[in-house]
């Protein structure tokens, strides 16, 4: 029998009516003859309420106790969903993380799953039950409750799907799939039928906040096909899997972008070994994450070194550079926090030359100046002035004909 792991996020189970809708979806799957394991998050708003309680009693809430507290959120949802299924005549049983045997390490509030004992889930499935599992939580060997941190419910679903060798892991959310780009920027954006894990990682990290990166990495590692789909609308969503040989693949899958970037340039530093680390170590020490890094050597044997950071960290980074300017022997520090990053993503570009030149040409035709370029195997990113974001995305979407299926 086909086995599917469903995952419903906080919005999808946000109130009792929505929980009933989720029950209907699960019953549809059962009527198609599928075995179903369901992973759910806390009802939206619940986790924030609990965190507010914690902060009211302890300045820095104790991590062990915070996990005891927060894990109640998902526990409420599993019980309600199991009840809703039973009300509609569908046999169902709920399991918390510790009950179902999701063993984790003891790093409270951001634990990692160490092992899953699937015996109890398999037994319940064999008895014809839908198994409803609390996402986001586990238990240590000593019996302490843990939570898996941000995106933890996605991780639970993928880990369960891997452990159970499920056919697919369906991530139900409030969007109906992964698009070629953000439809709010380019209305002609097209929903993708499929995308590879690598492309999804690039899309996710570049700003398409559909799935948590960790769960995509996890799914890729254990080769669990992921499907992103809407819990409110019908449809097949987008399948995230490995590239299939023999399938004609589009060159470009999508266009990601990131509005929250700022760039910093150190001009005229002496071009000698170690200069890059001298610049970046103080930045990293201040807990500032660096995204793109580009370095050019000028004719006078000095280098221009440019990197981007999150816009919130811009002032702090600028301050650090200016303090170190003398030591670095730099001529000048420059910065700009009115920039954005736009990226073409696609496994197809690996084997095709000419993508970059076509991209740059399309942007040039619209008079968009490229301020920075960075490339990887399956991605080309450019930094442009903030005001060109929408124009750049639409221009590239058009140039690569993304509105048309491959």
């Amino acid at each position: 029998m086909a086995l599917y792991v469903h995952k419903y996020g906080g919005t999808s189970v946000g109130d009792t009516d929505r929980i009933k809708n989720v029950a209907d979806r699960i019953i549809q799957a059962r009527q198609r003859g599928e075995d179903v394991v369901v992973v759910v998050s806390a009802m939206s708003g619940e986790t924030n309420k609990l965190v507010a309680y914690a902060q009211a009693v302890q300045e820095r809430p104790d991590p062990r106790e915070l996990d005891v507290l927060l894990s109640t959120g998902e526990q409420v949802t599993i019980a309600l969903l199991a009840m809703a299924l039973r009300q509609k005549g569908c046999p169902a049983v709920s399991y918390t993380g510790w009950q179902v045997g999701i063993l984790s390490d003891d790093v409270h509030t951001k634990a990692r799953i160490a092992d899953i004992d699937t015996a109890r889930v398999r037994a319940e499935l064999a008895e014809g039950n839908v198994v409803v599992v609390a996402g986001f939580q586990g238990v240590t060997e000593e019996g302490d409750i843990t939570t898996l941190g941000r995106g933890g419910s996605d991780t639970t679903a993928v880990a369960l799907a891997a452990a159970l060798k499920a056919d697919e892991c369906l991530i139900y959310t409030d969007v109906d799939g992964v698009y070629t780009t953000d439809p709010r920027v380019e209305p002609r954006a097209r929903k993708l039928e499929r995308i590879t894990f690598e492309e999804m990682l690039e899309m996710a990290s570049l700003g398409s906040k559909v799935l948590q990166i960790r769960s995509v990495e996890f799914a890729g590692k254990y080769n669990v096909p992921l499907r992103v789909l809407s819990s409110f609308k019908e449809g097949y969503g987008t399948l995230i899997s490995y590239e299939e040989t023999g399938v004609e693949k589009a060159l470009i899958s999508g266009i990601a972008f990131n509005r929250d970037e700022a760039k910093l340039t150190i001009q005229g530093v002496p071009d000698r070994p170690g200069i890059a680390s001298k610049i970046l170590v103080p930045i990293a020490s201040a807990n500032i994450e660096v995204d793109m890094i580009v370095q050019n050597v000028a004719e006078d044997k000095t280098a221009d070194f440019t990197f981007t950071v999150h816009r919130n960290d811009y002032c702090k980074a600028l301050e650090i550079l200016e303090k170190n300017c003398g030591e670095l022997g730099a001529r000048r520090i420059a910065g700009d926090d009115k920039i954005v990053k736009v990226s073409l993503v696609g496994v197809g570009m690996r084997s095709h030359a000419g993508i970059a030149s076509k991209m740059f040409e399309a942007l040039a035709n619209e008079g968009i100046n490229i301020r920075m370029i960075s490339t990887s195997e399956i991605k080309i990113s450019v930094v442009v002035d903030e005001k060109y974001l929408e124009l750049a995305v639409r221009t590239l979407h058009d140039a690569f004909e993304l509105e048309r299926a491959a």
Copy 2:
């Protein structure tokens, strides 16, 4: 080292400020050099909110799932109280029912504790921690979450105190002790320093809703001294324990009453064996609980049979009797739902004649007609017209000089 089990009910932990107050009380106990295990209920209102959720998704919520749902209420409180204690520098650690080893049977929503494994609590106490335990919940041998039903947190506290051989079990609540009668009826009611388990059982079942009957029975069975005291006011409350020999004991400890009674009389039934069961079996089959039962034989060899029920069941009981009237050979069915029960309670009356006559005389002097009488070893109950309730309580309180300490 002296060991005390504290129990704080839903009102005492009703919000984060009150949880901080509870932390202060516990820290005071620690400063007196006491080891403390704390049992807490859900924050007031939480359980009702969860029940409403359940009823919104399933007409008759599945008992197993209801337990998964409701047990989250106490889990929230234990985490918050442990945090509040840590914030104030007091080492503390929380435990759910399953974590602390409170093993129960599998009768969901009204499970009974089968065993408590105290190893983990003792280890935490030895390390200098306050141990905060979720009341009202346990776990079956199969690992299913159970709840103990109404008053379950009191039961958890008493069971833990018994298993740990604690010096006392302190039940913190919103009243500051057990009174000779309800102070809202008799302002001169006096707080009792001590009362026996048997007296407390009679007082509780007769309407003084300070403690749940089951936990008093449990404390009596395992000889755990119970103390009822206020979580908002200072004071030593009331100690509930076995009668101490050699201690001069008052004849009467208090006056309980019950406003919710109704009485039914079957007049002129033939006085022959089996008539009582013929009357009561159909009543019990309709799930109506019967309280007092009185039967008198008249000179004509017919009997008058009278019993009381909860006022909510009055109409249903009357209907059943009228339907069976012919079969019973009764002359007439009569009823009255405007009556109340007033009871004198005291272990001292065991060895003293004259209590009953003094009671009846005092009531007669005020013109209060007694409609029914029932007695036990340590209690005399009378049924009187509803309108006389306050007068009867005050008259008896005065006649037995209950405003004065023994």
